[in-house]
C-alpha cells in the first residue's frame, strides 16, 4: 500500500463477539505506531456487544497525531475474522475503491466473488490456529493470526512490530504462541493483487 498518497488509513475489523476483533484492532494500532505512524487510534464500535453476534472495531493510522475519534465509515481496508461475515455483516460496506479485503477463509481470493476493484487477500487462519492449538476458553482464536495477514497484504507493519505489540498484551508464553500464528499466517496469506 502506498501510504504517501493518503493522509490516513482506516481499517475496520469484523468478527463475532468473543473472537477478539477489538484486541486485534488495538494491537494493529500499537504495531503501526512502532512502524512510524504518529497518529494511531483504535476503538470498538460503540454499542452493546453479545458473544457470537457480529461486531466491529476500527483502527485509524495517520502520519500526524489524530485530532478526531469519530467512528470509521469509509475504511480503506476491512479485515474479516470469519468468512460468513462478508455477507451477513455486509463487511465491504463503505469500503473505498481499491480497498483491501483481508479474509480468514479457506478459499482463494478470486473464489469469494468480490468486486474486481478490491484488493483481496485470503488465508485459512482457522487451520493455522487449529494446528498450533491457539485457543482461548477452548475456542480457536484467529484474531492475532490475522495481524500477520495484514502485514503480508499491505506492508503497513512488519512481523517485528506485531511481536512488540504482542509482548505488551500477553504473557511471554501466550505472546510467543500468538506470534507463531501471526508468522504462519503471514507466510500463508494469498494476495490476488500481486
Amino acid at each position: 500500500m502506498d501510504t504517501t498518497q493518503i493522509d490516513q488509513i482506516e481499517i475496520r475489523w469484523h468478527g463475532r463477539g468473543g473472537q477478539g476483533a477489538v484486541t486485534s484492532a488495538n494491537l494493529l494500532a500499537e504495531a503501526a505506531y512502532y512502524a512510524g505512524f504518529k497518529g494511531v487510534s483504535s476503538a470498538p464500535a460503540f454499542g452493546a456487544e453479545r458473544r457470537g453476534a457480529p461486531v466491529t472495531a476500527s483502527t485509524r493510522l495517520a502520519n500526524a497525531p489524530l485530532r478526531h475519534f469519530s467512528q470509521v465509515e469509509s475504511p480503506n481496508m476491512v479485515v474479516i475474522l470469519e468468512g460468513s461475515l462478508l455477507t451477513t455483516a455486509k463487511a465491504t460496506q463503505g469500503l473505498t475503491d481499491n480497498g483491501h479485503v483481508i479474509v480468514n477463509s479457506p478459499f482463494l481470493p478470486d473464489a469469494l466473488g468480490l468486486s474486481n476493484g478490491y484488493r483481496v487477500a485470503t488465508v485459512n487462519a482457522d487451520r493455522i490456529a487449529e494446528e498450533i492449538n491457539l485457543r482461548a476458553s477452548g475456542v480457536i482464536m484467529v484474531n492475532t493470526a490475522m495481524l500477520g495477514a495484514v502485514a503480508r497484504a499491505t506492508g503497513l507493519i512488519t512481523l517485528e512490530h506485531i511481536e512488540r505489540a504482542l509482548s505488551h498484551a500477553f504473557s511471554p508464553k501466550a505472546a510467543r504462541k500468538n506470534m507463531e500464528a501471526a508468522r504462519l499466517t503471514y507466510e500463508a496469506t494469498c494476495c490476488a493483487f500481486e
Binding site: 494500532a29 505506531y33 485530532r67
Partner: protein
C-alpha cells in the same frame, strides 16, 4: 523502519486515568464501577493488589459512599482519587456538594455518559454538566494524553485552591479508544506534583468538628472565636473559583516546563488568529471541530476553533478576549439544559454580553446518547449558520445535528 518509543504506551483513556492516579501517588481510592468508567477502577484495584501502587483501595456499596470515603480520607490528610459516570455521578450528587463545601482537593474522573431515561451507556456530557453548580472545578479533555496530563494538573490545582477537580473525558470515544500516551517516569511526576500537604487534618488525638451546623450570620464558637456564617463560606468558595483561573493557567505553564506539553490552561485554540467564524466546544467534539475548521478554510471561510477546557470556573474574560474579532460563533453542546439550550452556548452568550461583544452566536446540540458526530456534520452546521447570517434571517433556533426524526 521501527520507532523507538521508550515512554509511549498505546492505551485507552481509562488506562491513562489510572496511570495518572498511580504516578500521582494517591493514598486512597474509593470507587464503585459503572460503564464506561469501570476499567479505571479495575486497573487501580490491580495496581494496589499487586503492590505497584502503595495505596488503600476501599470498596464501597455505592457512589454515594465512594464520595463519602473520599471526603473522610481527604480530610484526614490523604491524596484521594475516584471516578464515575452518569447514574453513578448522579448518585454521588449530594456528596459532591459536601466535598466542595469542605474545600477538599479530591480529584475525580468522569468518563462522560448520557443520563437515563431512556437507558444508555454511551457518551454525551449531560452527567458532568448537570453537576455544574456543586462547586467542583470541571476540566474537559480532547485525547488520552490530555487525560493523563490533566489528572496530574488536577491534583496540583485542587491542592492549591482547595477545591475538588473533576476531569471529564468522553465515554467510549476516549475512555475505550487506544492511542499513544507518553507516560513519564515517577521522578518527573514527583518534581511536578509535590506531596499533598493538608490544611486541616482530622486526627483522633486532637478531635474537632468538621462542618457543624452553620447559621446564617457569623457566630462565636465554643472557644469564643468568631466563625463565618454560611454566606461567608460560600463567598470564599466563589473566590477560590475565581483564583482557580490563574492557578489552572499556571499549572499548565509549569507542566509544559516539566514535560514539554501544554494544553492551553482554561482554553485552547486552532487557527483562531484571523478567524471571523469560530467553532466552540469542549472535549473530543472540539478536536473533531478542528478538522471541520480546516475544511471550512479550504472553502474560503475564515474558520477557527476555540476549545473550552475549563467549564467551571467559566473563563468568561479569556473567551471574550479571544472572540473579540469573531463575527459568528457556532457553539456545539453535547448536553442540554432542558427548556432552554446548550449549557456552554448559554454561558457564552451571557459572557459576551457582559464583555460588550455581540457576534452572532448559534447553538447546536450534537452527539447525545452516543450519536456519532463527524467533522463533515460540524462543517455543514457552520455552513448553515454562515448562510443564515448572510440572509439576515430572524433569531436562529438551536440546531440539532444529525437528528433523525
Amino acid at each position: 523502519m521501527t520507532v523507538e518509543t521508550k515512554s509511549i504506551s498505546v492505551i485507552t483513556g481509562n488506562k491513562a486515568a489510572a496511570e495518572a492516579a498511580r504516578l500521582a501517588r494517591v493514598d486512597v481510592v474509593a470507587a464503585y464501577p459503572i460503564t464506561p468508567q469501570s476499567p479505571v477502577v479495575e486497573a487501580l484495584s490491580k495496581y494496589i493488589e499487586t503492590g505497584i501502587l502503595d495505596a488503600e483501595f476501599i470498596t464501597v456499596e455505592s457512589e454515594h459512599s465512594a464520595m463519602g470515603v473520599c471526603i473522610g480520607a481527604a480530610a484526614s490528610g490523604s491524596r484521594v482519587f475516584t471516578a464515575s459516570s452518569a447514574n453513578g455521578l448522579a448518585y454521588m450528587c449530594e456528596q459532591l456538594s459536601w466535598a466542595a463545601g469542605s474545600r477538599l482537593p479530591i480529584v475525580m474522573g468522569c468518563a462522560n455518559r448520557a443520563m437515563s431515561a431512556p437507558w444508555s451507556v454511551l457518551n454525551d456530557q449531560q452527567d458532568a454538566m448537570s453537576q455544574r453548580d456543586q462547586g467542583w472545578i470541571q476540566l474537559y479533555c480532547r485525547n488520552n494524553q490530555e487525560i493523563f496530563d490533566t489528572f496530574l494538573q488536577g491534583f496540583r490545582i485542587a491542592e492549591q485552591v482547595q477545591l475538588p477537580v473533576m476531569v471529564c473525558y468522553d465515554g467510549y470515544i476516549l475512555s475505550h479508544t487506544v492511542m499513544p500516551v507518553d507516560i513519564p517516569e515517577q521522578e518527573q511526576v514527583d518534581a511536578y506534583l509535590p506531596p499533598y500537604s493538608v490544611h486541616t487534618v482530622l486526627d483522633p488525638d486532637t478531635p474537632r468538628n468538621i462542618n457543624p451546623v452553620t447559621l446564617a450570620d457569623p457566630r462565636l464558637n465554643g472557644d469564643g472565636v468568631l466563625c463565618h456564617g454560611y454566606m461567608e463560606f460560600r463567598y470564599l468558595m466563589q473566590q477560590a473559583h475565581q483564583e482557580a483561573m490563574d492557578v489552572i493557567v499556571a499549572a499548565d505553564v509549569e507542566f509544559e516546563s516539566c514535560f514539554g506539553r501544554s494544553w492551553g490552561g482554561l482554553t485552547w485554540s486552532h487557527k483562531l488568529d484571523d478567524a471571523d467564524t469560530v467553532l466552540l466546544a469542549a472535549g473530543s467534539l472540539a478536536g473533531e471541530a478542528t478538522i471541520a475548521a480546516d475544511t471550512l478554510r479550504e472553502e474560503g471561510i475564515r474558520a477557527g476553533v476555540l476549545g473550552l477546557r475549563s467549564y467551571r470556573p467559566f473563563p468568561a474574560a479569556a473567551l471574550a478576549a479571544q472572540l473579540a474579532g469573531a463575527r459568528l460563533v457556532v457553539v456545539f453542546d453535547k448536553s442540554l439544559s432542558y427548556g432552554y439550550g446548550g449549557p456552554i452556548c448559554i454561558d457564552l452568550q451571557a459572557a459576551l454580553m457582559n464583555h460588550r461583544l455581540s457576534p452572532e452566536i448559534h447553538g447546536y446540540i450534537a452527539g447525545l446518547g452516543g450519536r456519532d458526530i463527524k467533522a463533515r456534520e460540524l462543517t455543514a452546521a457552520v455552513q448553515e449558520s454562515v448562510a443564515w447570517v448572510k440572509q439576515e434571517k430572524a433569531l436562529k433556533p438551536t440546531g440539532w445535528i444529525n437528528l433523525k426524526l
